[in-house]
């Protein structure tokens, strides 16, 4: 048996590191922890934990069933804790993302009018493609944590002062 134990984090247990300043300001590092952020988030809130111009990483507390959403560009979802079922469908006429709008939005009309594309059941460590132009919703039987690779949109939430180490 290997003596090496690979440590992951979870909503139920994680250890947060920190920035030890010598000659600096810890706010420069925007240091946070995805599990801590998810503990303080409501179900399916999209909280930015990293930003590089228009690009963001959003932490999502996966709990229950999300609404249907759509996006004009590819996104990815990394499951950091728990299990999530991602359902994918084709948007109906007029439900597609507005041209030139970045980031994900709620699907107009609430339910996709097009055919089902398929589904993915993903657990910890799994990376899921959310294809551009598709409609998707996610279901989690128990609370989990997702990290979404995307572009900032109207539903991205910014709570830097609350989630980041400031001293």
């Amino acid at each position: 048996m290997s003596r090496f134990v690979t440590r992951f984090g979870s909503l139920g247990g994680f250890e947060k590191g920190r920035v030890e300043v010598v000659d600096d300001d810890p706010r420069h590092y925007a240091f946070s922890n995805v599990f801590e952020v998810a503990l303080g988030s409501g179900p399916w809130e999209q909280v930015a934990v990293a930003q590089n111009r228009q690009y963001v990483l959003e932490v999502v507390r996966a709990e229950g069933t999300s609404g249907w959403r759509t996006c004009g560009h590819d996104q990815s979802v990394l499951v950091m804790d728990g299990q999530v079922t991602v359902e994918l469908a084709v948007p109906g006429p007029g439900q597609g993302p507005a041209a030139g709008l970045d980031g994900s939005v709620g699907l107009p009309g609430g339910v996709p009018g097009g055919p089902a594309m398929g589904r993915v059941v993903a657990g910890r460590g799994h990376l899921v493609l959310l294809p551009a132009g598709g409609a998707y919703r996610m279901v989690a039987q128990r609370p989990g944590v997702l990290v979404v690779q995307t572009i900032a949109g109207p539903d991205t939430r910014y709570r830097w002062a609350q989630i980041c180490q400031t001293s």
Partner: protein
Amino acid sequence: MTATQPPQPQPDPQSDPQQSDPQQSDPQQSEFGSQPPSQPGSQAQPETQSQSESESQSESGSQARSGSRSEGGLGSLVGGGAPNGAGYRSFVLGEFTFSRDDYFVYVGWPTGSHVASADAFLKALQRDVAWEFFYGIVNFDGVIGTVNHYGTVDLFAGRYNDAWRKAELDHLQNFPTPQIRATFAAMLDDWTNHGFDPFASPDETGSAFGPKHGNNTPAVTRRRVTATRMVGLHGDEPLRSDQTGHRVNRQFTDVAQDEPLVEAAAGFEDQVHAFNLFGYLSRSDVTWNPSVVSVCRHSLYCPTTEEYILPIIHGNDRVEWFLQLSDTIYWDVEDRDSGAVRSKVTMHPGDVAAMPADIRHQGYAPKRAMLLVWENADPDLPHLIATGQLPTNPIDI
């Protein structure tokens, strides 16, 4: 600005030196081509533009005057003369000379010289070559390094070291990327002996020391993974398995290898997709080697498996972010230009941290760890940051 020709060493009439031709393709060039994989469509910068960017980047944050600087012409000599007594060839790149013996690498330039341990030098050199000089500054140590201008590359000695700068003994020379790449790749191949893998952790490889004995060309010419959309999609980078020669690493034997359940309706097989990223990373045979697995325009997921010490000190020309996927990494963070210590950052699973665009960092992983490096590959970023149009810190808290 007129390019000056550096002095040429006189070839030994008894030898058969190989004169490098930057116009020739490098036979050892990785499959992804001559540009960093995350810079699709980027063009070689005109020499004057790269020089001004180099100056602004090197001058920012430092009060010391710079030392000497020359413009790289075609002056490089690969394998000049016969191998030395230890069996290794020497190299000339512009006004820089490189040689090695059983233990050390010796670097010379008009205003100074430097000695480095051969294993550390080769590990750094391997990253510089494999990453096509990466983003910004690749410091081999506190003295030697390169700056990527995405079409040309600065090779420097002491430029980002406060003491060398104040003494005005630092030196910098700019080269077309193909020229420095060819020289570095040839140096890496000649100086890497059989049994030593510069990409492996110390526990997984043999010694870099001793007289020249064989080579390890397959190890030093590995193809870098650069997905165009997501690993595992049809036509994109493939998944890893025992059958592809990617066994689970000895320090990740407890990582789950289950794949997600993917059920795609007919015709949507290229849209409904997922894979086990943690399992994929557990099968990596390299350390400290970010590779692209997921793409959202210029947003690149570049996860990597880390063990022991990052062989370079990376000086950013843009903000990058870390998301710790497993285990722990300790980071030393210094001022990018002077090397002054700024912070120590400890990251545990789930931690997220930005690395600002005015620092350099080096990581320490006591156990093989999974790290997600998140990059913005927008080719405009270095110029916008170097000219102050964008801040070096990502967030204003």
